[in-house]
């Protein structure tokens, strides 16, 4: 390892491990400093592109690459570290250290996956992300969060296993673990397995249902982290290995439309925003699929802009949930006089996602649409423009309207509780809002970081402005006349998670009925056939044990018991989440050693 390379994830991990020992009044300062130092570390390694942090083991046969810093990882690493700072400031008021630790491990996983150079390191950080983020759901005390966390964990473990299977097969075939662009002309089973594993994290249909399910159940601060990292890290990995794969164009467009349709019907604030993520990530998946320099630039730019405005929207939605405790439109409405600052930030987020001129979405989204027109994919360009209008309809109009305007559906209690959030949330939202504007106004800030800086793009042409104004104005007019059709309604919309939710119930039934029956029968048979010979043998062994082994064993048994007690105290606290965490980590280590040693 070169001496100058400090992996930014390491700062977060060490910072998280030290956090429990830090006491007030230094705790808040410490909480801000660790992500800031991570950001500094990212900026520092971004200034020195190249391959860093290569570790060889097993006599140099194997190498792990922790620090591949190139034009693609630079922009993603920077925005993730920046988001870590904003997210941590937003959560400064949270007293529970474990939440911060989980969030930092989550970010560390994301940064690790972005700077990694081979599949083994990618897998390590990929799983770290999945596990750490599961805790961000479990820490929520809301009803249903525990179950949602389990579903999230199971789905992501499944995705991780597919990815593992994919790259192990690839290793067998080509003898190489390097995480590089795969060949579209020459695909194998492993290509599709790796693609499916990565697509699951990007929430590409039909592997998308975990996203709205989990993000709406996470803690308020946890959701702000989750909306940024998992899907965008997956976009990075797709851009790294699958740029130009045609199937991603189709899936991206499907995803963009699917998300908007569901968002139009949604009654839960954070689920609506989660569907909106599915839709926006659809643009990026599509951009990766188009694969031209402009499209990849657009994907990176849109991921960058998306993280900022989507986190802003999640922060503003979180502020509403934080103050009122309500998450449904049917229990909110007319709150503008109570939470004016939150309204302001939500509008900034909404106009950014809707691609208003001078806001971040305008300079990034259009790049992907232009790329599709330039590649003569007219249907893609037109459909993505439809989604553009739908985005404004959902996030720019429906969302703020149903929370802050219109008739008030709040109870007395909700109205009384509603107020603007604490100062740290204001600060984080202010920073994100400022960055949304900065990206939209000062183009070099974002454009100079893009992977192909030689491809020029000018969003502020008069034609593009006129096109955007028409789209925005006429979406507004449609909303004005049809807002009754997409009002608040106390329903949920069934989605593909139906299958595994009810699949789980089927499994439970199976376990309770036929399997239980078989178990009982086997037990009976065993008692009749097996017990007598067993008793005889047991008598002999008992004699042998008594006379022979006891002396030797007793001594060691005492040692083991003493040790076991310690282990039990540390590792088994009776909390099933922790037990699962430890045993799955152990299983992963076993699996890896089995495969590689």
């Amino acid at each position: 390892m070169t001496t100058s390379f400090i992996h930014p994830s390491l700062i977060l991990i060490i910072g998280a491990l030290i956090l429990p020992f830090i006491r007030e009044p230094f705790r808040k300062l410490y909480l801000t400093m660790v992500p800031l130092m991570t950001l500094l570390a990212v900026v520092f390694i971004n200034m020195n592109p190249g391959i860093h942090g290569v570790i060889s083991f097993m006599g140099g046969d194997w190498t792990l690459t922790f620090g591949r810093v190139d034009s693609l990882s630079i922009i993603f690493g920077f925005i993730m570290a920046l988001m870590a700072v904003i997210g941590t400031i937003y959560g400064l008021h949270v007293k529970d250290n474990w939440q911060h630790i989980a969030a930092w491990f989550y970010v560390a996983g994301s940064l690790g996956a972005i700077y990694c150079g081979d599949y083994l390191v990618l897998f390590l950080f990929w799983e770290m992300m999945a596990f750490a983020s599961t805790f961000l759901i479990w820490f929520n005390s809301e009803k249903g969060a525990l179950a949602a966390g389990y579903r999230y964990l199971l789905v992501h473990t499944f995705g991780g296993v597919i990815l593992l299977l994919g790259f192990v097969l690839r290793y067998q075939a080509v003898g190489d673990l390097a995480f590089v662009q795969l060949d579209e002309q020459n695909t194998h089973l492993y290509t599709w397995l790796i693609l499916a594993g990565l697509m699951l994290n990007a929430a590409v249909p039909p592997l998308h249902s975990w996203l709205p399910d989990a993000y709406s159940k996470a803690t308020i601060t946890g959701a702000v982290f989750m909306c940024a990292f998992t899907t965008k890290t997956a976009i990075y990995t797709l851009a790294r290995a699958f740029a130009g794969f045609d199937i991603l164009i189709i899936l991206g467009v499907v995803m963009a439309i699917y998300g908007i349709i569901y968002a139009l019907r949604e009654n839960d604030i954070r689920r609506l925003l989660a569907w909106e993520i599915v839709s926006q990530v659809g643009y990026m998946v599509c951009g990766v699929g188009i694969g031209t320099a402009l499209a990849i630039n657009g994907t990176c730019a849109h991921a960058f802009a998306h993280i900022l405005y989507k986190s802003l929207l999640f922060m503003a939605a979180g502020a509403v949930v934080h103050a009122t405790g309500k998450t449904k439109f049917t229990e909110l409405g007319g709150l503008y006089a109570k939470m004016p600052n939150t309204l302001f930030f939500m509008i900034i987020g909404g106009v950014s996602v809707s691609a208003f001129p001078f806001f971040s979405g305008f300079v990034s989204k259009s790049m992907i649409i232009s790329a599709s027109f330039e590649s003569h994919l007219l249907w893609v360009g037109f459909l993505l423009t439809v989604v553009s209008a739908g985005t404004f309809l959902v996030a720019g109009l429906r969302l703020p309207y149903l929370i802050f305007f219109g008739e008030s559906r709040c109870s007395e209690e909700t109205l009384e509780k509603a107020c603007d959030p604490p100062w740290n949330m204001h600060m984080a939202m202010g920073a994100a809002a400022f960055l949304c504007l900065l990206v939209g106004i000062y183009l070099p800030f974002l454009y100079n970081m893009l992977p192909y800086p030689e491809v020029s793009y000018h969003p502020y042409g008069s034609y593009h402005l006129s096109e955007t104004f028409q789209i925005l104005v006429f979406t507004g007019i449609t909303f004005f006349f049809l807002k009754g059709k997409i009002g608040a309604k106390a329903t949920i919309s069934l989605d593909l998670d139906w299958f595994y939710r009810l699949g789980g119930r089927g499994f439970l039934w199976l376990a309770k009925n036929p399997i239980q029956w078989i178990d009982t029968m086997l037990g009976k048979a065993y008692r009749v056939i097996g017990l007598t010979p067993l008793m005889t043998t047991a008598k002999f062994w008992s004699w042998f044990d008594w006379h022979g082994i006891d002396g030797v064993v007793d001594g060691s048994a005492r040692c083991v018991r003493a040790l076991g007690k310690r282990v039990t105290v540390v590792m088994q606290r009776g909390q099933i989440q922790q037990t699962i965490y430890i045993s799955i980590t152990f299983a992963a280590i076993l699996l890896i050693s089995f495969v590689w040693l």
């Binding site: 349709i261 232009s370 423009t385 739908g390 028409q470 006429f474 007019i477 449609t478 049809l482 919309s493």
Partner: protein, 84 residues
Amino acid sequence: MIVDLIDFLKKHQQTVRVYCIIAIAIMLVWSFVGVDTHHAHTWMEVYIPGFWSIFTLISCVVLIFFSLWLGKSGIETREDYYDN
């Protein structure tokens, strides 16, 4: 400050509406006559005046009614559907 502004606009809804219509009209006239369609993506945008206005209007209506239809076709259900 924000609250005062919103209350002020609410109080003068009629005036706000008139100003909005004037603004929309100016925008439309500008896009019909003032904009250089040199950067248009397809021939449709060049030859159909206000192409994106019509396009948006249709797409929004389609999106809204399609989601309504989809909801009614069976995917929309009661909130405690997954509770035992």
